[in-house]
């Protein structure tokens, strides 16, 4: 029985399924939020998770990763992110229901009252400082900060992992070259975050929790933050082992586990597969199919969706056309990530455009 559960978990956490499960979970939770925001649901979730942790703790392989001192924060991250997502969705759901009944939201009801900073706010701050100080001191006494062998540039550890908060980017390296995964996409994340207030012109949902009034914005952030950031950090910490190969939580980190890598460029598919001839020498001609595809992706899709999205997000106001195009451009870059992942899983695609001569691979 125990072994069967372990095998099932190992299977369920393989990268493709892992991603699929997370995506479905997000869709289901947002869709059936009336159910998922109930108090007992979160209680059951945490109870089951705890039971699973207790069960899994006895496993040598699981135990080895989970008890690494530097992995404690990842567990905290997972627990807090789940809890706060639930809490915010619950408040959003209750507010939306109240609005439907014509009642004020919780924030509107409380917001009219003003209270003194001293003591109403100051005591919260004080309690938090005391709690955090206590927790940190206990944590620091209990768990010693790790120190490994002295630095040696000749001996590369396997796996070599970036600090945990950048593991999402390291995971992208499976699908993209470093110039995209490590430089361009992170820059777009920062630029994109900064652009959010200037793109989102929806005046509703300012200063209170809601889902109904900001469906697009909230769903987008759930996908971006929960799926593509937090879940990738967890994947990178617990499920990636030597050579960045995938390992289930109960699997032994075997240094010699090799995953077959027979990925094929789009150009090969096109010239050899479709036209049955040798790939042209000239890189620009060789990669023409991929280049046309990408240019089309960035140029045609915004046009295709323009009238629909302009209407639903900007109320058809032409004034916002620049906002629309900036948003679409950022979203399309973001969209490259799942597209490339899907293509890799389904047709082992390596590069859409691959010009290694110029380090220009997409």
């Amino acid at each position: 029985m125990g072994q069967q559960i372990k095998d099932a978990v190992d299977w369920l956490t393989s990268p493709t399924l892992y991603f699929l499960e997370f995506t479905l979970a997000i869709i289901f939770i947002l869709r059936f939020r009336a159910f998922f925001t109930k108090k007992w649901v979160i209680a059951v979730f945490f109870a089951v998770s705890t039971a699973f942790m207790v069960f899994a703790f006895g496993d040598t392989n699981f135990n080895r990763i989970i008890t690494k001192p530097d992995n404690v924060p990842i567990i905290i991250l997972l627990a807090t992110v789940v809890f706060f997502s639930w809490l915010s969705l619950r408040r959003a759901y209750l507010n939306d229901e109240a609005t439907k009944r014509g009642e004020p939201t919780q924030e509107a009801a409380l917001g009219k009252q003003r209270v003194f900073t001293w003591p109403d706010l100051v005591y919260i701050e004080l309690i938090f400082m005391v709690i955090f100080t206590a927790v940190l001191i206990i944590w620091s006494i209990e768990i010693t900060a790790p120190i490994e062998e002295p630095a040696a540039s000749a001996r590369t550890p396997n796996p070599s992992k970036a600090p945990w908060y950048f593991l999402g980017l390291q995971e992208l390296l499976v699908y993209f070259d470093p110039w995209l995964a490590g430089v361009v996409l992170p820059s777009f994340i920062v630029v994109g975050l900064m652009a959010i207030p200037y793109i989102d012109v929806n005046p509703k949902g300012n200063g209170y929790y809601t889902f109904e009034e900001r469906k697009f914005a909230i769903s987008f952030f759930w996908v971006g933050f929960l799926l593509f950031w937090v879940s990738f950090v967890i994947l990178g910490t617990f499920l990636r082992g030597p050579n960045w190969s995938f390992f289930g939580p109960f699997e032994y980190w075997d240094l010699h586990k090799l995953e077959p890598m027979v990925n094929v460029d789009l150009a090969t598919y096109f010239w050899t597969g479709l036209l049955g001839q040798a790939r042209p020498e000239q890189p620009l001609i060789r990669e023409l199919p991929g280049i046309i595809l990408l240019l089309g992706y960035f140029a045609v899709i915004p046009k295709l969706l323009e009238s629909r999205l302009m209407k639903s997000l900007f109320e058809g106001n032409r004034q916002h056309i620049i906002r629309y195009h900036v948003m679409m451009h950022l979203l399309l870059w973001f969209g490259l990530i799942p597209i490339k992942m899907l293509l890799r899983w389904t047709v082992s695609l390596k590069y859409i455009v691959g010009i290694p001569e110029w380090f220009f691979n997409i």
Partner: protein, 258 residues
């Protein structure tokens, strides 16, 4: 006992510090906030919805508190740590063996991890309550820069123990810089920056070299990261935090329904 307290409170020393009586009347509560340097970050009165724990999750405050802990423990660590390739690792080991109550390194490391988490959660909360909308667009942007600085603080600190974990994590991280378009020697477009067959961008002068002061993570990188970690980034973050808090107030306090 009460007499002693009354005497102390009536003394010139006490009254020179606190210019009001015990804050249990509206007047004294107002004065408590207004006449205290630290408390006057706050307005005298706040929206009840804004201080609700399930509204803000207190994550901005927690981030700030962790930043303060980092500053204090970091300062103490600086007394013992020397950023050179020969000494750094020894100093870290010595911290545990020779320093009484040696949990400063633990406090510093675990708080740093928590700070990364709390700043993410804070951003998440600000997004979910739509608090980046007008008039708070600018403060959201200050926040994004603070987020980047928090990650960079953590990242630069990661190298300082100078063990295998540190050096290789930073190697993995900074290898990316090699591939910066145009400016990295393995980046697209770098080959274009050349004159008469002479490449201007190579492993000895690209952005990664600038970051590490060398072609690999060595002594130069250690010093650079140390200075950034202990001086450069904290000062930047502190200034931005001051602006951030000031703007929270100027933008009408913690957000609430309009």
């Amino acid at each position: 006992m009460n007499k002693v307290f009354a005497y102390i409170r009536a003394s010139q020393i006490w009254r020179s510090i606190f210019r009001h009586g015990y804050p249990d009347t509206p007047r004294n509560r107002t004065l408590a906030v207004l006449s205290n340097f630290f408390l006057h970050l706050h307005p005298v009165k706040v929206r009840r919805s804004g201080i609700q724990l399930s509204y803000t999750w207190c994550m901005g405050g927690v981030t700030f508190f962790l930043f303060l802990i980092e500053t204090i423990t970091g300062l103490l660590l600086m007394f013992y740590y020397r950023p050179t390739a020969e000494l750094a690792y020894q100093d870290i080991l010595a911290l545990r063996e020779h320093v009484p109550l040696g949990i400063m390194r633990e406090l510093h490391r675990w708080s740093a991890h928590l700070m990364v988490i709390s700043v993410w959660l804070h951003m998440y909360r600000v997004f979910l309550t739509g608090s980046y909308k007008a008039p708070r667009e600018f403060n959201w942007n200050v926040g994004v820069i603070l987020l980047v600085l928090t990650l960079l603080l953590s990242f630069t600190g990661y190298l300082l123990p100078w063990d295998q974990l540190a050096v290789w994590a930073i190697t993995v991280g900074t290898n990316m810089a090699r591939a910066t378009p145009v400016l990295g020697h393995e980046g697209p477009g770098a080959a274009l920056v050349s004159l008469g067959g002479l490449d201007f961008i190579h492993a000895g002068d690209d952005v990664r070299f600038g970051l590490l002061a060398g072609r690999f993570v060595g002594e130069g990188a250690l010093l650079r990261f140390y200075v950034l970690h202990c001086v450069g980034i904290p000062i930047g973050a502190a200034v931005l935090m001051a602006i951030h808090f000031w703007r929270v107030r100027k933008d009408g306090g913690i957000s609430g329904p309009l």
